[in-house]
C-alpha cells in the first residue's frame, strides 16, 4: 500500500470518528488528459477560492502553485478543453483548517526557497560586478553596469539622472519629515546608509545556504549579501529623492486620454484624503525598522506624485505598471478587431469601472484599492491606445506592482579588497551550486514518486514526514497500488474511499458546446461538421498545437480509424516540415512529429488530444458545473446556489 493510500485511509477513519462535528469541505480536482505536456491528466485540491496543485517547473522541479479557482477552471476546461471532475469531501472545520494551513505553509516555504536561490545568484552577480569594478581604475562615464534597484526607475532615468526641477509634493513630504525628525535627519541617514553600503561584505560562511534546502522547513536566514545591498541602495535612493525633491520621470507615469478618466468631485476628495494619509505613512516608513523600506518609499513617493497630478489635471494619472518584457496581441488581430481582442478590451473596461467604484465608495481606500485601480487603468489605457492607433497591445499577467527597476551609477558599492572578492566569488559559486543541487534533490519531479498526485496526498497526510516525503519508491510493495500515482486512478480511489463525497464535473468547452448543438440541431449534421478540425465551428486551427484532422474523444468506435488519419496528417506535416526546415528551423517538422506521436494512442482506442483553444467565445464562465451522474444530459443542472455561480 502506498503512503498516500494509507494517508487517505487515515483521513477517512478520522472522518468517521469526527462524523458528528460540524462539517466544512474541500475538493479534489481531477483534470482529464490532453496532448502536450499534460498527457497524464492532472490532480489538484481546492480550498475556498484557491486551487493548490503541483506542476513541473524550472530546473526539473515540481512546484506548488496557488491559483484562483476561476482562473484554473478557465484554463483547463475552456482553453485546454479538459473536463474537470470534482469530489467534494466534508470534513470537520478544524481538519479543513489544518489541511489549508499545510498547503499554505508548504507554498510559502517553497517560494522562499526558490527566492533564496535567486538571492544566491544575486550574490554571485554582485561579486562579479565588484570584481569588474576593481579592475577599472575609474568608471567610464557611460558605464551603466550595476545592480538594478526596484523602484529606482520612477525617479532616475537611463543616464541615472533625476529630472530637472523640484517636485512640490515631495518637497512638502520632506518638510513633514524635517518637522518630525529634525533638519539634519535626512543627511545623517543618507550618510549612515552609504557607509553601511560601503562596509558590506560577502558572507564567507558556507554552512547555511548549503544545508538550506530542507524540504518545507524554513531556512535559518534568507537575507544574503545581495539582498542587503539592494535594500540599502533602495533606501539611499529614496532618501536622495526626498532630499532633492526629485520629480517623477515623465515616462514612469501614465496619463490616459481625457473623457472616461475625468475625476468626479467625490473621487477628487478621496484622492486628497488618500494622499494626505500616504504622506503621513511615508514619514513613518522612513523610520521603520524593516530592512526593505526603500522600495515601498520610492513607490509611495511616485504614487504621491501621480495623485497630486491627478488632482491638478482633474483626471486619473497613475504609475505605468506595464512590465517591460511582455507578449503582445498582434497588430493584425487588433486591426481586424478579433473577437477575443474586443472581449478583452470590454473586460478591461468593466474592471476599470469596478475598481473605480470601489475606490470611490470605500470609506478609507487602502493600498490594495489603489493598486487595483492603478492596474485597471493601465490595462484599459493600453487597449484604448491599441484600438485608437491600431498598435499591438501588451498582454501580461495581472497582480504585479509597478516595479521599474533601474541601475543608478553613483551608488556607493561595498568596499571589499580584491583577494576577498576572489575568495567570495568561489564561495558564492559553490553555495549556489550546492543549494541548486539540494533544491533539485528535494523538489525534483519524478513520474511515480513525486508528482501532482503523490504530493497532494503527502501534504494532506497526517503522518507526513518532510524528511521522507518524495522518497516513496520503497513503499510501492502492493501490486494493486502500483498505479496510484496516475491522476485518474487516484481520483477513483478518492471516490471509493469517500462514499459520501459529492461528485460533480465541469465539462470541457467542446463537449459542452457539442451537447448544446446536438440538442438544438440535426445530430448527423452536427457530427459531420464538428468531428473534424477543418469544418468545426467550436475549434479553430491554431499555432499552439500540432495539426490533426479528427477529434477522437467522442468517437470511440471509429477512434483507430480517425487515429490512423491523424497519424497520416502528422506524417504529412513532418514531410512538409522537412522542406521548410531551412526557413523555420524545424518547427513544422517537430510539430508534425508531436502530432503523429499523439495519434498513436488513438490507434489502440486511447484518446489524449482534446483540441486546445486560443479563445472561446461565450459568456462567463462558458462551462457549467453539474452533478457527475447527469453528465451528458441536455438539461443544465446547477447543484447548489454556490456551485451554480462558480
Amino acid at each position: 500500500m502506498t503512503r498516500w493510500s494509507r494517508q487517505l485511509l487515515t483521513l477517512v477513519a478520522m472522518l468517521g470518528i469526527a462524523a458528528k462535528a460540524p462539517a466544512s469541505s474541500f475538493e479534489y480536482l481531477y483534470v482529464e488528459a490532453n496532448a502536450g505536456s499534460s498527457a497524464g491528466g492532472h490532480f489538484a485540491l481546492r480550498l475556498d477560492d484557491w486551487v493548490y496543485d503541483f506542476q513541473n517547473a524550472e530546473l526539473g522541479t515540481l512546484r506548488l502553485r496557488r491559483t484562483d479557482f476561476e482562473v484554473f477552471r478557465y484554463l483547463y476546461t475552456v482553453l485546454e478543453n479538459r473536463t474537470l471532475h470534482i469530489a467534494r469531501v466534508d470534513v470537520p472545520p478544524e481538519m479543513r483548517e489544518a489541511i489549508f494551513d499545510r498547503f499554505n505553509r508548504r507554498y510559502l516555504s517553497q517560494n522562499q526557497q526558490f527566492s533564496l536561490l535567486d538571492s544566491l545568484r544575486g550574490d554571485r552577480e554582485l561579486i562579479r560586478l565588484l570584481l569588474a569594478r576593481s579592475d577599472q581604475t575609474t568608471a567610464h562615464e557611460d558605464d551603466q553596469s550595476g545592480m538594478p534597484i526596484r523602484g529606482a526607475g520612477f525617479f532616475f532615468g537611463a543616464r541615472s539622472e533625476g529630472s530637472a526641477g523640484k517636485s512640490p509634493s515631495i518637497r512638502a513630504l520632506r518638510e513633514r519629515l524635517v518637522s518630525a525628525y529634525g533638519p539634519t535627519y535626512l543627511a545623517d541617514q543618507i550618510g549612515a546608509l552609504e557607509r553601511a553600503a560601503r562596509q558590506l561584505s560577502p558572507d564567507p560562511e558556507i554552512s547555511k545556504p548549503e544545508s538550506g534546502a530542507q524540504r518545507d522547513e524554513r531556512l535559518d536566514s534568507g537575507y544574503l549579501f545581495s539582498d542587503r545591498y539592494q535594500d540599502l541602495a533602495a533606501k539611499i535612493l529614496a532618501l536622495r529623492v526626498l532630499e532633492r525633491a526629485t520629480p517623477i520621470q515623465p515616462d514612469a507615469r501614465r496619463i490616459p486620454g481625457a473623457g472616461r478618466y475625468e475625476l468626479s468631485a467625490a473621487e477628487a476628495q478621496k484622492i486628497r484624503d488618500y494622499a494626505e494619509r500616504l504622506e503621513v505613512r511615508l514619514v513613518k516608513l522612513v523610520a521603520s525598522k524593516r530592512p526593505d523600506w526603500g522600495y515601498p518609499l520610492l513607490l509611495g513617493m511616485a504614487r504621491l506624485e501621480t495623485l497630486r497630478e491627478s488632482l491638478a489635471l482633474e483626471r486619473w494619472v497613475v504609475l505605468d505598471s506595464v512590465p517591460i518584457n511582455t507578449a503582445f496581441l498582434s497588430q493584425r488581430a487588433v486591426k481586424r478587431r478579433d473577437p477575443f481582442v474586443v472581449e478583452l478590451r470590454d473586460r478591461a473596461r468593466v474592471e476599470f469601472l469596478e475598481a473605480r467604484v470601489h475606490f470611490e465608495t470605500t470609506r478609507d481606500p487602502g493600498e490594495p484599492a489603489l493598486a487595483w485601480l492603478e492596474e485597471a487603468i493601465n490595462r484599459l489605457a493600453v487597449f484604448q491606445r491599441g484600438f485608437d492607433q491600431n498598435l499591438p497591445i501588451p498582454i501580461y499577467e495581472l497582480g504585479s506592482l509597478p516595479n521599474r527597476a533601474a541601475t543608478v551609477r553613483d551608488l556607493p558599492l561595498p568596499n571589499v579588497d580584491r583577494a576577498t572578492l576572489r575568495s567570495a566569488a568561489e564561495t558564492a559559486k559553490a553555495r549556489e551550486r550546492a543549494f541548486l543541487a539540494a533544491v533539485k534533490r528535494d523538489f525534483g519531479y519524478q513520474l511515480v514518486s513525486n508528482n501532482c498526485v503523490t504530493e497532494i496526498f503527502a501534504t494532506i497526510g497526517e503522518e507526513w514526514k518532510p524528511a521522507t516525503a518524495g522518497d516513496r519508491a520503497g513503499d510501492i510493495d502492493d501490486p494493486d497500488d502500483l498505479l496510484d500515482f496516475i491522476p485518474v486512478i487516484a481520483y477513483q480511489k478518492v471516490l471509493a474511499a469517500h462514499a459520501d463525497a459529492e461528485a460533480s464535473e465541469i465539462p470541457s468547452f467542446r463537449s459542452f458546446r457539442l451537447e448544446q448543438m446536438y440538442a438544438a440541431e440535426n445530430d448527423f449534421g452536427v457530427y459531420l461538421r464538428e468531428s473534424n478540425t477543418l469544418t468545426s465551428s467550436i475549434y479553430r486551427r491554431n499555432d499552439v498545437e500540432p495539426f490533426f484532422l479528427f477529434f477522437t474523444e467522442d468517437a470511440l468506435p471509429l477512434r483507430p480509424v480517425y487515429g490512423a488519419l491523424n497519424l497520416a496528417a502528422g506524417f504529412g506535416e513532418m514531410a512538409l516540415g522537412v522542406l521548410r526546415a531551412p526557413w523555420d528551423r524545424g518547427r513544422m517538422l517537430t510539430s508534425g512529429l508531436k502530432g503523429a506521436a499523439f495519434s498513436l494512442p488513438e490507434l489502440v482506442f486511447v484518446n489524449l488530444r482534446k483540441g486546445i483553444l486560443e479563445y472561446a467565445p461565450g459568456d462567463t464562465a462558458r462551462t457549467p458545473r453539474r452533478p457527475a451522474e447527469h453528465a451528458g444530459s441536455d438539461e443544465e443542472l446547477p447543484m447548489s446556489e454556490e456551485e451554480s455561480t462558480d
Binding site: 497524464g40 535559518d220 534568507g222 499552439v544
Partner: protein, 163 residues
Amino acid sequence: MIARIALGLFIGVALGLATGCSKSSTTQASFGSSSDSSSSPFRSSSKSSSSGDETDQKEEDDQKEEKPETAFERDVRNHTVGFARTAGEPDLDSFQRGLGAIAEVHGITDWEQFDATYVAIGRGLADSDLDVRSAQQLAVALSSEDYDHLALVRSGFESRHAR
C-alpha cells in the same frame, strides 16, 4: 525503418506522458489573453476589509462580527509559524523581508500600516507551539518593540489561544 520511426514516436508519447501533471506552455501563453482570468488579483485584497484599514460603508454595521481570515492574514500567520519554528537564532530581517514579499502579492507594500498584519503575526505565534516565554520574546521582536504593535500581536495571540 518504419519500425524505428514507430519506436521513436512511441518514445515521444512516453516522454509526453512522463511530463504529466504539468500545464502546457501553450496555456501559459494564453494566460494573458484569457478573458476569464483577466481580473486583477488585487481585487480580492481590496475587497477584504480586514486586509487593511479600509472599510466599505455598507459593511459598517457588520464591523463587530468576527470576519473570516483573509488570504493575506492566512499568509502572514503561516509565515510567522514557519519563522517561529525555525531552529537557531531568529533573523528578523529575513522575516520582515519575507513578509514584504508576501504582502506584495496582495497589493500591499507598507504592511506595517495594517493592524491585521500584527494580529496575524500574533495568531501565527500562537500556532507555532512555542512556550509562552519564547513566544513573548518573539512577539516583542516582531512588533519592532512598538507598544501598539505589540498589543495587536498579543490580541492575535490570545484570540487564537481562546479558540
